[in-house]
């Protein structure tokens, strides 16, 4: 009998995935159902205390705020990234543009967030500008609210959305739009019926690359946000460091993972339904 080498070929992948995905998630899951040690760490005794502790209004509000910020920031990011990626894909000097998109990464993330504080702060650039234009004499508070948090999230994750969009749009055959126009589609119809389905994968990647990290965001709401914009990431950090409540921090992380997974599952089901409709139609056209 021929020896089956399949297992051996997939072994490196299995090790890789276990090491970087399965084991970390398992650790978080296990910690979430252990007992809190007030000096930090956990006591190895099963307990659902952390999850029952989540059933309070302030946690639920923070979850709602987090999801809201992540959704709105992602939506704005994608809407802003699409035309940029489109322009880059069509431009002849797209290496330079690509470089410009990546340049912010050369500066430390925290410094870039602080820069926004300098822009939006009471003595900041924006307030100077408004004063100079004579619109107001009193400084306006831009910082420490939910919209400041959204703006800085959009700024921080724009490159993560632009890059996958750029690569898919660049691969898109723009001749197809001409073909669609030729066959009677208006300009808008050619974009929605032909371009959109063909760059869908890039849009989904861009959504995942922005939505998931924003959902777990910590530094931005911590520095830019106020009382109305406490996000789950901040609560996790609080419990982990000053609160010494590792199981609770883990439980909140599990909730974040579940929110992401539900999103992915919905998308998956939606795709399956589309496929089914498609198959059904094929049966009809037999």
């Amino acid at each position: 009998m021929k020896k089956n080498y399949g297992t051996w070929y997939t072994l490196p992948l299995a090790v890789w995935i276990s090491l970087f995905f399965v084991i970390p998630i398992a650790i978080v899951l296990i910690y979430s159902v252990l007992t809190r040690d007030y000096t930090g760490g956990v006591i190895w005794k099963f307990s659902l205390d952390s999850f029952s502790a989540l059933a309070n209004s302030s946690f639920i509000r923070a979850t709602a705020t987090t999801v809201f910020i992540a959704l709105v920031s992602t939506a704005i990011t994608i809407v802003l990234a699409l035309p940029v990626a489109y322009y880059m894909a069509r431009s002849r000097s797209n290496t330079i543009l690509l470089l410009l998109v990546v340049v912010p990464f050369w500066v430390n993330f925290l410094i870039r967030v602080y820069a926004w504080m300098a822009v939006l702060g009471q003595e900041g650039f924006l307030n100077d500008l408004i004063r100079w234009m004579g619109l107001t004499n009193e400084p306006v508070t831009f910082l420490f609210n939910i919209w400041a948090v959204i703006i800085v999230h959009v700024y921080a994750y724009l490159p993560y959305a632009i890059l996958p969009l750029f690569t898919t749009i660049e691969k898109f055959d723009f001749g197809l739009l001409e073909a669609a126009r030729d066959l009677g589609a208006s300009h808008v119809k050619s974009l929605t019926k032909i371009m959109l389905p063909n760059v869908q994968s890039g849009i989904i990647t861009a959504v995942l690359f922005t939505f998931i990290p924003i959902l777990g965001s910590y530094a931005i709401p911590d520095l830019i946000g106020g009382t109305d914009s406490t996000m789950l990431g901040t609560i996790v950090a609080l419990n982990l460091r000053t609160g010494n409540n590792w199981p609770l921090a883990s439980a909140i992380s599990v909730v974040l993972t579940i929110i992401t997974s539900v999103g992915l599952l919905l998308y998956f089901l939606y795709n399956q339904r589309l496929e089914k409709v498609h198959l059904q139609f094929q049966e009809e056209t037999k």
Binding site: D173, G175, L176, E178, A179, A180, R181, D182, L183, G184, A185, S186, H187, K189, K193, I194, P197, N198, Q282, E284, T285
Partner: protein, 369 residues
């Protein structure tokens, strides 16, 4: 007739400093299979794109029957295009690709099905309707593109080098199919190609283009047998060109003194004067090649002696490159109707005699570009 007349009037197209089209005018008749033929960069595709509506002309108008269509966007013109790279929608099946124009018009599903299957039959693709474009061969893709372009029942079908991505045998097959489809749908076909044999074999008329100009419009026969100038003569088929000055004119008979072989006799219906600088052209297949000097030739035959520089046997014919005393290299084709009966085999370095009837030669103008 279902097709439209297409009238191109004084169309110019500039891309920056580059003049892609220079004052092009032509009229394509209703239902005609019309080819735009020329080397790459001659402006033929630009002209097609202007007719389709993808480009605006810098000057001039394009009329479909009586209406100037230049202000109309592509989706408002009764013209459809078959693209060189097929341009099939990769996310849609063959059925949905062909149904796309009908879906846009919100035609009821029953009618869509009915019509799509009719066109699938026309392009011989029945049974392939559930495949995605990436599951099809090149020829099948092009058939889908043709069906999709025809399903809107346009009055003009534009074909932009539709066969150039296919191999030679398939190209022949699809070309014949296109001809049949043209007969069946009866609309005007405008066919862009750089391949002269494609253009000659299926077109009713051909426009030969070079560097943004139309050099000649005519039936394939006219284009081949009476090219207007040296460019057309050289681009369509092979030809031997001999430059010279007219020395004697006797009715339709002219004698030209050529640099490369001395006096050459030719007949032409076009009017030239003694002293005119002309180019004499003779097609390789019109030249007889013999080992002995042909005897009892009529007085209006041209004869020249030469030496075979190269002989290439290709089954149904042989091609010879023959150098004469002045060093001019003639191209000669010899058909092998009955190979050895036509005389002894001619080989490399053989001394040979070339001869042709003055009626078979013709005079062309030097191309002014």
């Amino acid at each position: 007739m279902k097709g439209s007349e297409v009238r191109v009037e004084n169309v110019e197209k500039k891309f920056g400093e580059f003049n892609a089209l220079k004052n092009v005018s032509l009229t394509i008749r209703k239902g005609e299979f019309f080819s735009l033929l020329g080397p790459s960069g001659c402006g033929k595709t630009t002209l097609l794109r202007i007719i389709a509506g993808f480009e605006d002309p810098s000057a001039g108008i394009v009329c479909l029957d009586e209406d100037n269509v230049v202000p109309l966007p592509p989706d408002r013109r009764h013209v459809n295009t078959v693209f060189q790279n097929y341009a099939l929608f990769p996310h849609l099946t063959v059925f949905e690709n062909i149904a796309f124009p009908l879906r846009l018009k919100k035609v009821p599903l029953a009618q869509i099905k009915d019509k799509v299957f009719r066109y699938l039959e026309l392009v011989q693709l029945k049974g392939q309707e559930r495949k995605k474009p990436n599951q099809l061969s090149g020829g099948q893709k092009q058939r889908v593109a043709i069906a999709r372009a025809l399903i809107n029942e346009p009055s003009v079908l534009l074909l932009d080098e539709p066969l150039s991505a296919l191999d030679a045998k398939l190209r022949q097959q699809l070309l014949m199919d296109l001809d049949l489809i043209h007969d069946e749908v009866g609309i005007t076909f405008i066919y862009v190609t750089h391949d002269q044999s494609e253009a000659l074999s299926v077109s009713d008329r051909v426009a030969v283009m070079s560097e943004g100009r139309v050099l000649q419009i005519g039936t394939p026969y006219e284009i081949y047998e009476a090219p207007a100038d040296t460019f057309v003569a050289q681009f369509i088929g092979e030809t031997n060109l001999l430059k010279g000055t007219i020395t004697v004119r006797d009715g339709r008979f002219y004698t030209i003194d050529t640099l490369d072989m001395g006096p050459v006799m030719v007949t032409t219906d076009r009017a030239f004067e003694v002293g005119d600088e002309v180019v004499h052209a003779i097609r390789p297949e019109k030249i007889a090649i013999t080992k002995q000097r042909p005897e009892n030739l009529p007085p209006d035959w041209n004869v020249v002696k030469g030496k075979v520089f190269e002989s290439i046997y290709s089954g149904f014919q042989s091609r010879f490159d023959v150098d004469n005393a002045a060093g001019y290299r003639f191209k000669v084709y010899k058909q092998h109707e009955s190979y050895l009966e036509m005389g002894p085999e001619i080989k490399w370095t053989d001394e040979v005699w070339l001869s042709w009837d003055a009626d078979d030669g013709y005079l062309v103008e030097s191309t002014r570009l």
